[in-house]
């Protein structure tokens, strides 16, 4: 039976660096998507702004 800590895949420094770059790219893409939806909401209709808070 395994003792946990040594199991699993250990990433090399290069793999960690590339995974980090991919994560940042995904985060930026999602951020852009959120900003885009926000801007389109403002552009498409005043109705979404004119509402009781």
């Amino acid at each position: 039976m395994s003792n946990g800590a040594d199991d699993g895949i250990v990433l090399t420094e290069e793999q960690k660096r590339r995974r980090r770059a991919r994560s940042i790219a995904i985060a930026l893409s999602l951020g852009v998507l959120a900003v885009l939806f926000y801007m389109v909401t403002l552009v498409k209709g005043p109705a979404v702004l004119i509402r009781p808070l």
Binding site: I9, L11, R22, V43
Partner: protein
């Protein structure tokens, strides 16, 4: 089951899956379609439409690279692509392409209009299912019919503004559709050995180089007047007419040289020139279309 190796794919590999050079032509022609369409679209919505069309085209590229990884691995032109080079797993490319395809269509539908989204979905489906999975491996007419996928973007750009299509976007579609065979067959003449090794039934491999040269000339003879058709139809002005006339004449001249020069360095040189100019041709015509439209909008008539 074999252990899964941690991915070594970099961000640049995922960008390569999107085929950025193909995407540039798609974005440009879609932009022209969007700008010359009658009506007004808020710049943010227009940008959204272009982004969705670009991402949809990129998704098609990624799905194409996923399915064609076996072909790409044996062709010198494509063997350094991320999948055959071993940097991206086929499953990763499939997931990436499928996700972007669904997202691009859904966002275009929700934020712009569903007619344009349906056209984008059809284009992605046509490129992946009809061209990549079916025609490419079975018929030398693969790029003729498959070329329709590359011809849809200006129509999608137009539809993003108007919500429908009319004669003008159909003419833009026809220009790219008829331009595709001479463009790709010129490349096919230069890379015939590569395609033969990959067992892709491109026209130069199946019918021979001379038959391909004849087909290039025939398609260019049809393309040149169709290139002028927006002018004849009154959809474009004299700036476009002059550019289309000059570029069409040069295309015809270069296609004739490809037909004439069949041996040695002259044959290679003629095919290279036609391939290079054909890229300029489509950019020049669409730029002229845009310029003409902008001049008309600011009240300048030539």
């Amino acid at each position: 089951m074999a252990p899964v190796e941690p991915s070594l794919a970099g961000v640049e590999d995922y960008i390569a899956l999107l085929k950025p050079r193909v995407m540039s032509l798609v974005v440009f022609t879609a932009l022209v379609g969007l700008l010359v369409a009658p009506g007004h679209l808020h710049p943010v919505i227009g940008f959204t439409a272009l982004l969705c069309i670009a991402i949809g085209a990129g998704a098609s590229g990624a799905l194409n690279m996923w399915y064609d990884a076996d072909i790409d691995a044996v062709m010198t032109r494509t063997r350094r692509r991320p999948i055959p080079a071993g940097r991206v797993e086929p499953g990763e490319a499939l997931a990436f392409g499928a996700t972007l395809a669904v997202f691009s269509v859904a966002v275009l539908g929700v934020l712009v209009n569903w007619f344009a989204a349906a056209l984008l979905a059809f284009t992605i489906g046509f490129y992946v299912l009809v061209y990549t999975m079916w025609l490419k491996r079975v018929t030398p007419q693969n790029i003729v019919i498959g070329g329709a996928a590359g011809a849809f973007p200006p129509m999608i750009g137009w539809a993003a503004v108007t919500g429908d299509i009319s004669v003008a976007p159909v003419l833009m579609f026809l220009i790219i559709f008829l331009w595709t065979p001479p463009h790709f067959w010129a490349l096919g003449l230069l890379k015939a050995d590569d395609y033969a090794r990959a067992k892709v039934p491109m026209l130069p491999v199946v019918a021979g180089l001379d038959a391909t040269r004849r087909q290039i000339l025939i398609y260019t003879i049809i393309l040149a007047p169709v290139g002028l058709s927006p002018w004849f139809a009154g959809f474009a002005g004299s700036v476009y007419g002059v550019v289309a006339l000059i570029c069409g004449t040069v295309m015809l001249h270069l296609a004739w040289r490809v037909y004439r020069d069949r041996i040695g360095a002259a044959a290679v040189s003629s095919a290279k020139r036609l391939f290079a100019f054909s890229l300029l041709y489509v950019f020049a015509l669409f730029t002229a279309l845009l310029a003409d439209n902008l001049l008309t909008r600011i009240g300048v008539t030539l």
